[in-house]
């Protein structure tokens, strides 16, 4: 088996330790920045929905500021964002380089996108349901929990899956600040040293990763849609 692998992917076999490490770094970056982004994006998405004109607590100021801010952040290419937020990164995680240094820019890159996903998912909840809940005498918090979030679980899962897949793409750029990960691994060996087998191995790994994420997502959506 190892012989066969050495034959078709000699460089990969030599770098297998580093390869496994790169996978670990990618998963680490995804888990930490994904987790943080999920919480922040969820909160902001709910805030946007609640403050929207015609929402359960309309607030023009909060809505406009947040809406514009998200648009601005979404229009900055990630590779620029990565370096632009370095001072902030230093402040938050103590270091602007390495895997930890990639977390802050990844969060900045993911939150605006995920917030929009949540906003879209919540907007799909029929306004009649909110009206019915209000007529029942539910408080705004109860409406958010028991109606808005509960009814949009499939939409939230779908949005989360799209976001995670795009996060996989973002982590590949983290190499620019020394964040490591599969993208960095592929650029350094596969591209710069022309070790094509490494490029292919990375592509294959990412493909498997994305497929797994999507399969899990589809399953959850299926089980929560009635």
């Amino acid at each position: 088996m190892l012989d066969f692998l050495s034959d078709i992917a000699p460089n990969l076999v030599k770098k297998q330790g580093e390869f496994v490490g790169a996978i670990g770094q990618t998963l680490y970056m995804m888990a930490v920045s994904g987790g943080i982004s999920f919480l922040i994006g969820m909160a902001l998405g709910i805030l946007l929905t609640v403050c929207k004109p015609g929402g359960i607590r309309p607030n023009r100021v909060i809505f406009t500021v947040l809406d514009r801010l998200i648009n601005v952040l979404r229009s900055i290419p990630f590779i620029i964002l990565l370096t632009a937020v370095i001072p902030l990164t230093r402040l938050i995680s103590g270091s602007a380089i390495g895997t930890a240094g990639a977390i802050v820019p990844l969060v900045f890159g993911t939150v605006p996108f995920f917030t929009r996903q949540i906003e879209t998912a919540l907007a799909e909840v029929d306004s009649g349901l909110v009206e019915a809940a209000q007529a029942m005498g539910m408080s705004p918090w109860a409406i958010i929990w028991r109606v808005l979030l509960r009814e949009s679980i499939p939409g939230i899962v779908r949005g989360s899956m799209i976001t995670i897949v795009s996060l996989v793409g973002l982590t590949a750029m983290a190499g620019a600040v020394g964040g490591g990960g599969l993208g960095d691994f592929a650029i350094r060996y596969g591209h710069q040293r022309n070790q094509v087998d490494i490029t292919w191995a990375t592509v294959l790994t990412l493909l498997v990763l994305v497929s797994l994420i999507q399969a899990v997502g589809r399953r959850i959506v299926k089980r929560t849609t009635h």
């Binding site: 029929d126 009649g128 349901l129 009206e131 019915a132 809940a133 209000q134 007529a135 029942m136 005498g137 539910m138 408080s139 109860a142 028991r146 109606v147 509960r150 009814e151 679980i153 929560t224 009635h226």
Partner: protein, 344 residues
């Protein structure tokens, strides 16, 4: 029970300000079914939403028993809303919850422990005839079943008042009747006061005790259903009544100058309306004998409103003009409305 005083509500629409509700005052008595009818855009949906303040009226006040709802703070308003059930045209059930969980939803804020709440929800489902569907999801139900779940949900907190916003408009005629029968049963069994809005006169006719007719945001006519049907004052009321009556066919025939309604010299086409007492009398044979008239019945119809008959006949009369005049006078004195539709 419920008193609306000079309610007013305007919306800023794309085409300027729309006065959805203008100076509406009405009183709903405990235990009655009060219907509000109007064409779409007449403001009836806004009006019903002003009752539980889903829409805040800009002028006027809403009183329930002796509480002024329009003066309540948010917290107190929520408390009052729990005592007012509401059902909707599109049912508004939570698709992610089972039938039982939908009915349990309004009980979450009540101080009822879960097992009791479940018992209560089950008994409500039994009341609306859906005991066997508690584990189903709304998407697996028919429209009529969904509305039954919505009714069970609306009753969860033992409301004294139920608001129905076009509750049967999305249902077929058969299902509409069964839902109306259920509402009537709840009204009689539980003493539930119902305010119902609709654009169908047939719904009013079927279950309402009193009715208000809305046009352009105003209530133009109100009264007990029999009175309004028997003696409509406003043009719009008459139009609504005609939509629920097969009599409009006659008007169409008349407008098209149909040969059925063509009169010979000396003939008249009359529309006779019989009320409570007069509907039971054999007036046609009576007047034809008494005044030597020939009567040809073109169309006849009888409605039962609040257990009292309301009859309509369209007849062609032939006879001496003075006999016809005397017969008309005789009928009018006997509480029969006579309208001359056409004279030859």
């Amino acid at each position: 029970m419920l008193r609306l005083e000079q309610l007013g509500k305007t919306f800023d629409g794309r085409e300027g300000r729309v006065e959805a509700v203008r100076d509406v005052s009405l009183t709903v008595k405990a235990g009655e079914i009060y219907g509000i009818i109007g064409a779409s855009g007449a403001g009836k949906s806004t009006l019903v939403r002003c009752i539980n303040l889903l829409e805040r009226p800009e002028q006027g006040s809403v009183w329930m028993d002796d509480i002024e709802l329009t003066a309540l703070g948010e917290q107190q308003l929520r408390q009052v809303r729990r005592g007012i059930g509401m059902i909707f045209q599109h049912f508004n059930l939570m698709a992610s919850r089972t039938v039982l969980d939908n009915v349990l939803l309004p009980l979450r804020d009540a101080a009822l422990p879960r097992p009791q709440a479940v018992d209560k929800a089950r008994s409500l489902l039994k009341l609306v005839g859906l005991s066997d569907k508690e584990a189903a999801y709304p998407s697996q139900l028919s429209g009529g079943q969904k509305q039954r779940v919505a009714i069970a949900r609306a009753l969860a907190n033992d409301p004294k008042l139920l608001l129905c916003d076009e509750a049967t408009s999305a249902l077929d005629p058969q299902t509409t009747l069964s839902i109306l029968a259920l509402l009537k049963q709840l009204n009689e069994q539980l003493g539930l006061t119902i305010v119902l809005i609709t654009h169908e006169m047939a719904v009013i006719k079927e279950i309402c005790h009193r009715v208000a007719v809305m046009e352009d945001g105003r209530v133009v006519e109100q009264g007990d259903v029999y009175g309004v049907f028997a003696h409509p004052r406003e043009h719009v009321t008459r139009r609504f009544i005609d939509t629920a009556s097969p009599l409009q066919k006659i008007y169409r025939l008349l407008a098209a100058d149909s040969p059925i309604l063509r009169l010979q010299i000396g003939e008249q086409l009359l529309r006779l309306k019989f009320h409570r007492q007069s509907a039971a009398q054999p007036y046609i044979s009576d007047i034809s004998r008494r005044f030597h008239l020939d009567m040809n019945i073109i169309f006849g119809d009888i409605d039962i409103l609040q257990d009292a008959p309301l009859g309509s006949l369209v007849v062609i009369v032939r006879g001496q003009p003075e006999d016809v005049a005397r017969a008309t006078e005789y009928l009018r004195q006997s509480d029969v409305d006579v309208e001359v539709m056409k004279r030859a």
